[in-house]
Symmetry: C2
Subunit: 415 residues, 2 copies
């Protein structure tokens, strides 16, 4: 797992502002330990390129502030002298991610290593309720997860919301499947969460598109290997998408890039909640998929599990519905591949367990329609998301990433 | 006009390797003068952030090497003392761009300022001929343009080829409309050009996708104003595309991004040369457009001019053909906008004069289908390319950009 933090990888020599330099180098050392998992001071020194003395001083401060822990003894390969092993702390600073989707809320608390330490999922229908009520309920779930985290001596220093819509400056500009339009999300959630945690410091809250966060989670915690440029699709009630270019989210000019669910499949097709017609979502979204398989489309996760069970049993209607959705996915994805030239396409959300039935038709479309000739073996490049990587974990990991980028800013929270 | 060069904008203080620092700063100064057009030494100093003394020494070297010229006298606003005005040299170093397309070759020589100084266009059919013959002919045209440039005391220091296909490491992986597959382009062109210029030093040659270069030309020489993230479509026999993200080409994982001409419009549509069916090119490429307007599709530029004439005269069949192509363009472009979230969409190549008839239907599709709600006024965001910006000029300007990034490397060529 490698969460590349913001900020350069080059250590700064004490010259300009000593405080700035030290903060930068503390971040470098902390990220080096996180990337290595377990490492000696000598190992950090070799990786970061600062002297042993400088590293020792930086490590000392990180140990005192509770960002690192040391344990056991080992022999550093280089000098033959024993050194203790450093790890990032398993207690103290944490991040919380809160995915609010159409028919569930999923909350995840991760530690400094990005490990999923608390997970709380509630299945409920968020479509009928006013946004303030949905945000309030999600804050209640988050507060319970934070209580569980506190039992493990983990304190979140920030919360990130994952929402199925277009987010700009903390406001949900549009989330058609939630029925939200121009809803401020961050402040109401922060207030509701604070109300659940009397006497505790309020948490800063940030909102982000859920597909973007799921894609980052896949990059950081999934099985992509060397792949750093990919297209991510997440099947939910809607179909979300994200583009990752060389390890960075491609946001576009206004932060709205990746809306693959509203690429048109049939211009005369069924009306979509976005105001257009025949969008991919109308053919490959959860409702369309369940309906065409003859299942109750309001059944949510249970319906998807039933669809998977029937497909596994070879039931024709289920298999046909998935093949048809795969065909439509393949058409739209081949266009996206022609435009964006990714190394892989990852199918997440409800698609993950359904990939075995979606991929034959989708892969055939890709093999025919991708112009570069790079995708004849489309089966390899079209893959299911990792079960360990979802939007809530990506959101929580982004909070931790802020800490890794400047631990000093968070030192008071842990000490 | 602003050609942002590679390399940072921060002047380096003499510390590490003095030679490296000076080369970097020479580039900074040269680019500052190019960006300003006309500027005093004091103006350069203010812009670049180095002392007057340092600037004077750097300017002296650039004058001696022939990259800058000075002329006239002015009063620097700041100190009230007279200073001479610096400009980039109008003679000496130049770049040549060679666009090889299906039914024409267009060659452009630009000077250090990026100004188009020589232009030679030959309309010919490149489809029938073997690649070596096409490259040889293009080299002959380039040689004639270089002879014209020499009359103006301009010497190209490199050539860039613009080709309608997928280019990777100097090889045309696929150019369906030329009928090329896995054709090495750079070395054969360089050899053919050298044969036309006995006694002259051979020119380094680089190949790039023509839509990418047209998009860069639009960025550098067009009328985009503050827009730095846009989608570029160029209508030719094929339909090329490029994505520019914050002023940089988005190349994707293998350099093949932007192939919007092969996004599917109708999965059961006519066969395309790429091997797929119903690609945008089959509805909005030059041949399809001329055919559906009842014109001879083999007529090339003359056919497009005739189509424009008929549309202007209000001839129904011409107008209907353009409206239909606009509709298809609008559908595909709305998907691309949903994926990529650009600030503008630029229509170049044969579309440029046809935009008045393409944009009503295309704009209506965009207004309906773009999910962000940012495109209700799609007419503003869908625009014709600038006549001053084309692939050949973009290619030539890339050569000049190399010079601007490290003038010292080219000093011997001018001196």
């Amino acid at each position: 797992m490698r969460l590349s933090g913001s900020g350069g990888q080059i250590p700064l020599e004490p010259k300009a502002d000593r405080d700035t330099v030290r903060r930068h180098n503390l971040s470098l050392v902390l990220r080096a330990v996180r990337d290595e998992g377990e490492v000696t001071r000598a190992g950090v020194s070799a990786r970061v390129g600062l002297t042993r003395a400088a590293i020792s001083s930086l490590v000392e401060q990180l140990l005192e502030s509770g960002f690192l822990s040391e344990s056991g003894k080992t022999f550093s390969g280089q000098a033959g002298r024993p050194g203790t092993v450093l790890k990032v702390a398993r207690t103290g600073v944490a991040g919380i991610g809160v995915e609010i989707n159409v028919d569930y809320v999923s909350v995840c608390v991760v530690d400094l290593a990005g490990t999923d330490r608390v997970r709380l999922v509630e299945h409920l229908d968020n479509r009928g309720a006013p946004p303030a009520r949905v945000l309030g309920r999600a804050a209640g779930i988050a507060a319970r997860a934070l209580a569980s985290a506190a039992e493990q001596d983990l304190q979140a220093v920030g919360a990130e919301l994952a929402l199925p819509g277009l987010i700009s400056a903390g406001t949900v500009r549009q989330a058609p499947n939630l029925g939200w339009s121009r809803v401020a999300a961050e402040a109401p959630f922060a207030d509701a969460l604070a109300a659940h945690r009397p006497g505790l410091p309020p948490l800063p809250v940030r909102a982000e598109n859920e597909a973007n966060l799921a894609a980052l989670a896949e990059l950081w915690f999934g099985g992509l290997g060397d792949v750093r440029t990919f297209l991510y699709l997440t099947g939910e009630i809607g179909v979300g998408g994200a583009l990752v270019l060389d390890g960075e989210l491609l946001r576009g000019a206004h932060g709205f890039a990746g809306e693959i669910g509203h690429v048109v499949v049939d211009p005369e097709g069924p009306e979509c909640r976005c105001g257009s017609r025949g969008c991919l979502e109308q053919y490959a979204g959860q409702s369309a998929l369940l309906r065409s398989a003859g299942l109750d489309e309001t059944n949510g996760a249970a319906g998807v599990a039933e669809l998977e069970r029937r497909a596994r049993a070879g039931e024709e209607r289920a298999v046909t519905a998935l093949e048809r959705a795969g065909l439509m996915l393949g058409r739209v994805v081949s266009g996206a591949v022609n435009l964006f030239d990714p190394d892989a396409v990852v199918l997440g959300g409800i698609y993950r367990p359904l990939v075995p039935w979606l991929s034959p038709t989708a892969g055939a479309e890709l093999a025919t329609r991708v112009v570069s000739g790079l995708w004849p073996e489309a089966g390899d490049r079209l893959r299911a998301s990792s079960p360990a990587a979802d939007a809530a974990r990506g959101a929580a990991a982004r909070v931790v990433q802020d800490v890794l980028s400047d631990p000093v800013a968070y030192a008071a929270r842990v000490a």
